[in-house]
Symmetry: C2
């Protein structure tokens, strides 16, 4: 299996990307990692290490985090993101991973790799941490801010298939994010989506409230891209703020610093549980090939996890599964 990796996207690019790819190449000898970016950048970071299943593809252009996505992918047809999405479309790679500009990756995924026949909108589907450590797939978180009920219906279907095949959830519990658990609550978008999702051959558990998400009561959470994006960023923001203030308390005096030393192992474990990076990247579901968005702050370990995830995405034939289910439902 060949997996293309954008070395030029993410806060710690290219070092973390190259290091993560090396770790992945060492772990999985059946997988060829193809690093997209300036060859001399990869080479200087590899410092002579070059497993047989790691290759470099010279790509001299990339899209920065600040660029306007659609304009960027139109102007930079030779950029890592566009090249990676094209490789997947043309079968030069079975999957593509990037930690770069999320909007550009979604746009290139849609316009270059292309949508599965019958899918109206792809969805970006990251994992959220839950207190039981299993995590929860949330989609969409921003690929499509202006959602319609048929989009949410397809998210539910795609999320259920992905959660079962890649994440290993048995009969994943799919919930619909709403402002109350009773049927009939919420906006007309949600009410109409509820009516459609309940007819799908999935394990739909109905409405779920934002208050209960971390308790792990659902495995796949369906929402429109605007709400999902707010949810994702708010969760990050609150967790970061709480940990920040906690750190302040722990370093306030010599006595609290002593207490902090005692608590350190437990707090570290906790911080790791809450860390998105442990869960790999976010698949762009609904495309003709596996495209994975790694977190912008990905370190080498996160890149390694994203490769593991992309491997399963390919091995479990998720895209064929989605296509077949769509055809079956007509």
């Amino acid at each position: 299996m060949r997996i293309a990796l954008d070395i030029m996207g993410g806060d710690h690019a290219p070092a973390a990307m190259v290091e993560g790819a090396l770790q992945a190449a060492e772990e999985w000898s059946d997988t060829e990692l193809i690093l997209l970016g300036p060859v001399e950048r990869s080479e200087s970071l590899l410092t002579g290490r070059r497993p047989a299943n790691l290759s470099l593809k010279a790509v001299e252009e990339w899209i920065s985090a600040e660029e306007e996505p659609v304009r960027a992918i139109r102007r930079k047809k030779g950029s890592t993101i566009v090249v990676g999405c094209r490789m997947v479309r043309e079968g030069e790679a079975e999957a593509f991973i990037s930690a770069g500009n999320t909007g550009a990756l979604m746009a290139a995924g849609t316009m270059v790799t292309g949508r599965i026949d019958g899918i109206a909108r792809p969805a970006l589907a990251p994992m959220f941490p839950t207190l039981d450590g299993k995590g929860m797939l949330v989609l969409d978180v921003g690929a499509n801010p202006e959602a319609r009920p048929e989009h949410l219906e397809q998210y539910a279907l795609m999320g259920s298939i992905y959660a079962e095949k890649v994440l290993g959830f048995e009969k994943p519990r799919v919930g619909l994010l709403n402002i109350g658990i009773e049927e009939g609550k919420g906006t007309s978008l949600i009410i109409d989506s509820f009516a459609r999702i309940r007819e799908l051959p999935i394990h739909f558990i109905g409405n779920v409230e934002a208050r209960d998400l971390l308790d792990g009561g659902c495995d796949v959470l369906v929402c429109d891209g605007f709400t999902g994006n707010v949810l994702l960023k708010n969760t990050e923001g609150v967790a970061k703020a709480v940990f920040g203030r906690l750190k302040e308390e722990l370093t306030r005096s010599p006595a609290t610093k002593l207490a902090a030393a005692i608590l350190k192992p437990g707090l570290k474990r906790f911080a790791r549980e809450m860390d998105y990076k442990e869960h790999g990247g976010a698949p762009l579901l609904g495309l003709k090939g596996p495209v994975v968005k790694a977190h912008g702050s990905s370190d080498a370990r996160a890149v390694y996890n994203a490769v593991r995830q992309a491997r399963r995405f390919v091995q479990r034939d998720v895209i064929k599964g989605i296509s077949e289910e769509l055809q079956r439902l007509g």
Copy 2:
């Protein structure tokens, strides 16, 4: 000034309501507290204490948290919530406070107290904690899930006036919740709302992302009721989960318990900062009279704070301020 208080709403009703009212009556001799509920319940909790500025009004019906709001207020015209809203409309009280069924209070506020002329939809506007301790007013969080740009425009105006007059923010910074800070991001609702809000005579700072909310960069956050409700509940859920896991770590062993004892004052201070109850209740903005929703989990102190807030709501003539601004803008 007369303030009516529903003693039958909230998780700790009626004890917390009666106790909070007593504290408020003792603090502000110029304010008459009128307790709505079964007189014998109030009397048994007062245990003989009866300040001259505290009176009891016999109301024998109330709406539980589980009841469907609109049906409940139609069927229970003699309930504490409906009676309180009617007292405000008829000038028998200058303000009404309830910690009961939020939907029922919003429905009764709209249908019984009534909207200010020119206001399309009232908004529920609670305070969110921020790390600088000042807090941020968020509206709407669920009074109106199906928002239009003209609603968000009015939220911005009402929120700015309330934040200035009641919360004491000078030239409150008003932000629009969006999935990116650039103009032109987000749904058509947000893009159209942005265009309207920028024309208002307020201090509009543009789009704000959910990630940055706790940093205290804005004083008034405008959003549709669905997104606001999700934001509120997610913030509560994440904070609760993090504190819960922290407690687990602190009580894991004798050593961590010792460490916990050292950290206790700091952690308590932090928990208090993050506590919604410190900030009083959420006004229902856009009604003809001050109606305040106290948090469902209100204790006596939260009720006392809600009274303080209702007093300012009346004293600073917020409703007149909103009406006049609306007329001025035509």
